[in-house]
């Protein structure tokens, strides 16, 4: 591999080229290590489907690359461990949160999101939607992915917890050089958390692409 392409690969940790699914897209972006893309769109415009395409959970057109390697070079589960989706509604299969979470670094994450360790052994359905959403984020972070695909990660949270989540994700990105694609409605929030922005219109087409 020549120096030129190695430099390009370093410059773009995570990139999407002509990514499209159904009538949504195409979308292009290239994210340097530690940066975050904010993706805003009205409901039903297909943000979630774009995130699912990035995680290779749905058949799609275009290519996503991680450190210069296209998704097709990875076994699908290996790709999703590196490029991990946090869905708007996470599902749980065990009765309590604990079996879903990796023990490594768990206490620090709980503390960062103001969760008491006792919630880990409470039945999932007794937890508030905000607690579940924060635990789902911890579940994703505890797998240590390189790219976070966040689908409205603070939709069920109050102001203090929104701030905690934003802070935790920023710290995670800076510590690991992880990239992030943050989907949301709140343009003020996206301006806070993201370094780069894309806006989809109601038909899933790129409405506005500022120069970077």
């Amino acid at each position: 591999m020549g120096t030129g392409s190695a430099t390009a690969a370093r410059a773009a940790r995570f990139e999407a080229v002509a990514l499209a699914i159904g009538a949504i897209g195409p979308v292009d972006f290239a994210l340097a290590a530690g940066t975050c893309l904010g993706l805003a769109a009205p409901s039903g415009a297909g943000k979630t489907r774009l995130l699912r395409a990035m995680a290779d959970l749905d058949a799609h057109e275009g290519v996503c690359r991680l450190d210069g390697r296209p998704a097709a070079d990875f076994a699908a589960p290996a790709w999703r461990r590196r490029v991990m989706l946090l869905p708007a509604e996470s599902a749980w299969w065990a009765d309590t949160p604990r079996p879903h979470l990796q023990p490594h670094g768990l206490d620090a994450y709980l503390a960062a999101l103001d969760l008491d360790a006792c919630v880990l052994d409470r039945p999932i359905e007794r937890l508030s939607s905000g607690q579940r959403q924060r635990l789902a984020l911890i579940r994703v972070l505890s797998h240590a992915p390189d790219v976070l695909l966040l689908d409205e990660p603070t939709a069920n949270l109050d102001g203090a917890n929104i701030e905690r989540v934003e802070r935790l994700i920023r710290a995670y990105r800076q510590d690991r050089g992880a990239c992030c694609v943050w989907v949301g409605h709140d343009s003020a929030q996206l301006a806070r958390v993201a370094d780069e922005h894309r806006v989809l219109d109601a038909r899933g087409q790129l409405a506005h692409r500022p120069c970077n």
């Binding site: 995680a55 699908a76 589960p77 999703r80 991990m84 869905p87 509604e89 996470s90 599902a91 299969w93």
Partner: protein, 265 residues
Amino acid sequence: MQLISLSFFDLALAALAVLALAATTFAMRLGIARTLLIAALRTTAQLALVGLVLEAVFAQRQLVWIALMALVMLLLAGREAAARQKRPFIGGYGFAAGTASMFLSSFVTAVATLVIVIRVEPWYTPQYAIPLLGMLLGNTMTGIALAMDRLTQEVWRGAAVIETRLALGASATEAVAEMRRDAMRAGMIPMLNAMAAAGIISLPGMMTGQMLAGSPPWEAVKYQILIMFLIATGTGFGTLLAVSVGARRLFDDRHRLRLDRLRPI
């Protein structure tokens, strides 16, 4: 002991009893009289038809005819199993998977039994081969139909769990493992119940028939035990096979859940 041959008049007497039941349910407005009569007619017509065919096949004793009959039985069983699915696979895949699994488990078990256990000459003697295969197919069909139905419904309902697991980096096999196990168990429950109840709660039909036909009870019992083991083996392996094939079909090579391969209700 001698077999007492039944006359058509004897059967007509029994049919009167069914008519009486139909009249009673009609009077009580259970809404089932029509279905009952159609079912009774179907049973008569189907059994009469199969009787004619069996008389011919038994008289011929030729492998071709027996194989042809076995093939027809297999295809009908496959069709029944596919028809009982609430959310079948699109494009005949469920029929193919069910039929192939039934073929492998039932035919292998039946032929092995004829050759190794019963050692009848020739091994395809219809008097042994056809009833054996029929019982195996019937039970395997039930097992596979239940198991596939359970699998597709569980996966449909549990799609969010499966997709969350996939998103967290699980392989398709890991993501569906629990539902796969549940489906396999569901397919084997009727067989387990039948074995547990045999002789105590129910006298199995085949054994009853053999005794009615004049066999000493002990001989009938030995055959029944053999059949129970064969049914357990055939149903068990057939169910495992069909569920494995079906579970694989629910995902593609990129470990994506493919509910679009099931027919929506």
